[in-house]
Assembly symmetry: C2
Homo-oligomer: 188 residues x 2
DNA sequence: CAAACAGTATACCGAACGGTATACTGTGCG
DNA sequence: CGCACAGTATACCGTTCGGTATACTGTTTG
């Protein structure tokens, strides 16, 4: 692992644990065992470093999500596949997922929020497309696909929060539970 | 409105818009039209200011929630009352609600997260109690009251997020929709 | 070999950070 | 009146902030 990767790794950990604004560039350099000119050589600025950190992991999530969100006529199955994709990704990269959740809810004018907004739009559109394509089969969804996409993502993130905080295990079983609750409610 | 209130007001706005760490004490003083010794006279530290900001609004939410979460044998009604309480509170104090949402998802080791963790525990316990009391009527809930409390809160916050971002109006109707989705899923 | 270049360190920049020592003001009260 | 005290401002503290000018490596390449 070269210096560039080490910096990315340490920055991700520190941002995730304490927040982008609360972590200084010097601290990242110390953790990575390099000096500031090295960091600035690779990333240009603290903001550029954040974007590189996000890009590295989001690209993985995006490609997996693209594969999972390919609706082929079976809504429950597609939702289940998406849920499993998210859960296994969050379980595999919990430190990153924590960071992206925090940035998603960060203040609108914060640097962090602005850095994730495009990545999150991608996710949203991916999922919206599923509901949109399902309209012919599920007529009652017409006109609600935006709300469904957002609340489905919200439900997944709620469950992932449970997992990341040790209240549950992020496996296919939990994914089934989340999807069932989303589709049929709590009495099922 | 005296200086103390002005400081609280301006700090809330700035923290909510740009985040606790990204806002400097000097900036709050400028916005409030006072100087640093005045701020430190009232709040002792930046952290103390944050706690005062949170306390002021959380105390309102807590007392309303205490009244709403009084389970009297009718689960759907109680959930509906709680949802309406949250929605009207978030609609009334959107700036504060944004801040508390951001802090709830903030990194575990950040000052902001630590400042809200007790307030959030209170909310969680209030809602858990409802599900716990409902177990005799709804046997299938036994052992799931923790998960239900957390996912119910998660569903509410997902919908409140929709409202705060202009995708919906935070009224009793949206509360009904959120509660219905939580109880019966999306096909209802 | 020599030039070019990516990568790295030393040492530094001005600005902003959170916080405070000191002193002055106004008001309430014995 | 005269004392106490809350409230406020001026001016400053040491530290850390994000970022950089300069120079030195080692490797690649014409």
């Amino acid at each position: 692992m070269d210096n560039r990767d080490t910096i990315l790794e340490q920055a991700l950990t520190l941002f995730s644990e304490r927040g982008y604004d609360a972590v200084g560039v010097q601290e990242i350099c110390d953790a990575a065992g390099i000096t500031k000119p090295t960091l600035y050589h690779y990333f240009g600025s603290k903001h550029g470093l954040l974007e590189a950190v996000l890009e590295r992991s989001f690209s993985v999530l995006k490609s997996r999500l693209s594969a999972a969100a390919d609706y082929k006529g079976d809504m429950p199955l597609t939702l289940q596949t998406i849920a499993e994709t998210y859960f296994s990704f969050a379980g595999e990269f919990p430190v990153f997922y924590r960071l992206q959740l925090a940035l998603w809810f960060a203040p609108k004018e914060s640097e962090g929020f602005k850095a994730v907004v495009l990545h999150n739009r991608f996710q949203y559109e991916m999922i919206e497309k599923v509901f949109l394509n399902a309209v012919p089969q599920h007529g009652n969804m017409r006109g609600r696909h935006q709300a469904y996409a957002l609340t489905f993502l919200g439900t997944l993130n709620t469950y992932i929060g449970l997992g990341l905080n040790g209240f549950a295990t992020l496996d296919a079983d939990l994914a089934r539970q989340a999807v069932r609750q989303f589709q049929y409610g709590i009495y099922s």
